[in-house]
């Protein structure tokens, strides 16, 4: 146990925390925007898988990781578009649509992968040269903090910057106010001449693109590969983080870091053969989400019309 609490192990845990939190944070911020408009997109897991693959495909075909990110965002956005058509236009049950598209995303990504790469029956997984970490000049020289925050991947910086951007968009612009109003009471917005469908499309497509980028972090920054189980439940955790964060960007950041920390600690414990059941730490995030839900129930910020389709003239 003693050698577990060394500087390098602890520092390593914090560095890993931020890294692990990245895809969760990107996907959860996108979902926050989608849910603010009243649409619960349960297909995050599948959307992340599709983004992870479409990003990988574009990167390996074009040789450019940056084009890969564009491909990942487009892949996720397309699934988001499908979700928007089904929920904002056709107004089917959001839970059913989300679960269906989740399966489509997961299955579609794997099917596409097999049809592109598995034709020869090779055992070696195809791979791309993955993103390297990019140190921020000067800031990365700060002891400890520099290593934890400023020697990370580009997508990690993107995720961190998106926290205030999302907050300002939702709370300090008229578009954000209108989006949140739609999530609480679409009829009131319709009666004020605020178009609902176009704004919901924007929100859900944005959420899809963000989930796609979250998936691309796993395939292009971490693994440099795509494999079927690459998302491994992170989409569901991102959904839980939105709830844990009580639909506020700052708390979603805190939630992502907490989940990342628990996961990083758990990995470190396993690596150093500490005799502590790591399953306990794996289960902790979900217990914490339930605790947060209970604690927040009286001041829940949940969009009041979440999952309820709006039809004009039905009262």
């Amino acid at each position: 146990m003693d050698d577990f609490f060394t500087y390098s192990v602890i520092l390593g845990i914090f560095v890993a925390t931020v890294k692990i939190a990245t895809p969760l944070l990107i996907a959860a911020l996108g979902e926050l925007v989608a849910e603010s408009s009243g649409i619960l997109n349960l297909s995050l897991e599948g959307t992340m898988a599709l983004g992870a693959f479409s990003g990988f495909l574009v990167a390996s075909e074009s040789g450019s990781l940056w084009l890969g990110l564009v491909g990942a965002a487009i892949g996720g956005a397309l699934l988001g578009l499908l979700m928007a058509v089904m929920t904002a236009t056709v107004k089917v049950n959001q839970v059913v649509a989300g679960l269906a598209l989740n399966i489509l995303g997961l299955g579609g990504a794997f099917f596409w992968y097999r049809s592109v790469y598995d034709a020869g029956g090779t055992i070696d997984l195809p791979s791309v040269e993955r993103f390297r970490t990019a140190a921020v000049p000067l800031l990365s020289d700060i002891p400890a903090v520099g290593e934890i925050l400023f020697e990370q991947h580009w997508l990690t910086y993107f995720a961190l910057v998106m926290v205030p951007v999302t907050f300002v968009f939702l709370n300090r612009t008229k578009y954000g106010l209108e989006l949140r109003s739609i999530g609480h009471n679409p009829e009131a917005c319709d009666m004020r001449g605020v178009g609902i469908v176009s704004r919901q499309y924007f929100a859900v497509i944005f959420g899809g693109a963000m989930a796609g980028l979250g998936g691309a972090f796993l395939s292009l920054s971490e693994a440099g590969q795509f494999f079927p189980d690459i998302i491994a439940g992170r989409g569901w955790i991102a959904l839980a983080i939105v709830i844990f964060g009580n639909w506020r960007a700052s708390w979603i950041l805190a939630g992502s870091l907490l989940f990342g920390f628990l996961e990083a600690t758990q990995l470190a414990l396993q690596a150093s053969n500490v005799n502590l059941p790591y399953q306990l730490l794996l289960a902790l995030p979900f217990v914490l989400t339930i605790v947060a839900l209970v604690l927040n129930r009286s001041r829940s910020q949940v969009p009041l019309a979440l999952t309820i389709p709006y039809h004009r003239g039905e009262r």
Binding site: E178, A188, G193, V194, L304
Partner: protein, 512 residues
Amino acid sequence: MDIAEAVAPGDPILVIDNVTKEFPGVVANDSVSIDVNRASIHCLLGENGAGKTTLADILYGVFRPDSGQIRLEGRPLDMASPGDAIAAGIGMVHQHFELVPPMSVIENVVIGTPARQWLDLTEARRRLEEFFADYDVEIDPDAEVGRLSVGEQQWVEIFKTLYFGVEILILDEPTAVLTPQGVTELFAILRRMRDDGLTIILITHKLKEVMDLSDRVTVLRRGRVVDTVATDDVDQLDLARMMVGRDVLLQVDKQRSEPGAPVLEADAIHVESDTGRGALKGLSLNVGAGEIVGVAGVSGNGQNALFDSVVGVRHPHSGTIRITGQDVTTAAPHKIARLGVACVPADRIAQGLMMDFSIKENLVLGNHRSSQFSRAGILNQSQIDAFAAESIESFEIKTPSADQVTRTLSGGNLQKIIMARELYGRPALILAHQPTRGLDIAASEYVRQRLVQERDRGAGVLLMSEDLDEIFQLADRIAVIFDGRIVAMIEPDATSLEEIGMHMAGAGAGAP
């Protein structure tokens, strides 16, 4: 306020020309033609279902008419959404408020206004404060709308509509949630707005309001215009006759009651509410066998909590409730029902019925465990069919068959299903919460007569209603509820509408 410059009233600003709107199975508006004069108050009067709200929704762009035309200042309007109506200068305050409860007053006001990208609330705050000062309204612009009283929410609704700078303001039943004094205040301000040049269209089914306020009135019946007249040329009886199509007796025959032993005794009950409003704070109330106690009050003063705690879905955290002498303070709803408690809930669709079940299923729901309708858990279909047939006949439920899906019935028939079910087994106590809300005059008369019949049979009736006329008609004693307590208990013969109104506003002299 930027109300259009004062102009000579008289010339029509808005012309509704031969407008027809059909919904599946109903013609809501049938060749409706109305001229609305500039800077006047024009009432649309009619019963529920006469097509008033549909017509207003057409004027506000919610629905497109199937045929006919709307002309504003001579120009034809083709509106696809409320946004188009607002752009043309027409605003509407709906009967059900269109507010975003978790947001502040200011945020609600600026939604949909052509503001800059960045939210700048200073301009909105300035105009809001100016308006409130101008009309002597005291509301904190930063207060969360969901925490305001209903009367305050009404002001937010009106102001956020005027904020667009509209020339025509449509108000749909704006007085439903106000005390008599609140109505007087509102009307005084509406008159001032009219004198400033605003054209106001007011939808109502209350004759008194039409007489008090309007310059002209259009009476609608079953989607058609009966007539448009100058208010000075008619009286209430004329209007009632036009509205119903026959002479109406606005009275129910009933004898003096001889109250027996108490069937409901609520003693100093405290009940919490989820929203922080509408809790009970030491409410005490008795209902005797064979009497109707009417609970008058502005909605949100604890009526829901009272109903819920007597039915047993919410338990008081202090105080006791006794029904026919038994303590039921913490009893489960089905145990309370078994003591002979019938309940007619305020929201008959959400709380009273399974809309996708058949009529006969709804008629036995709740009583389905009785030995008459089931044996060892198996429903006795022939008994259920017989009971349904009997109920449909005796309660005059209009339906082709007992197997019809409940959703297809009108409001009056829905209420009759609930009454038939609840009055099964001769209940000792009947809780009726807004039993005639949204019903036409004939169905309302029926429901009221039934309640009086049940009283005469010996049942105690607790009637909660926002319709003061109904309370005065039916109640043997009037209990006024304010802020979670009964603040006055008065016999209807010994009081006036004004006195009840004072108590409803919490301004009555000394609680009992």
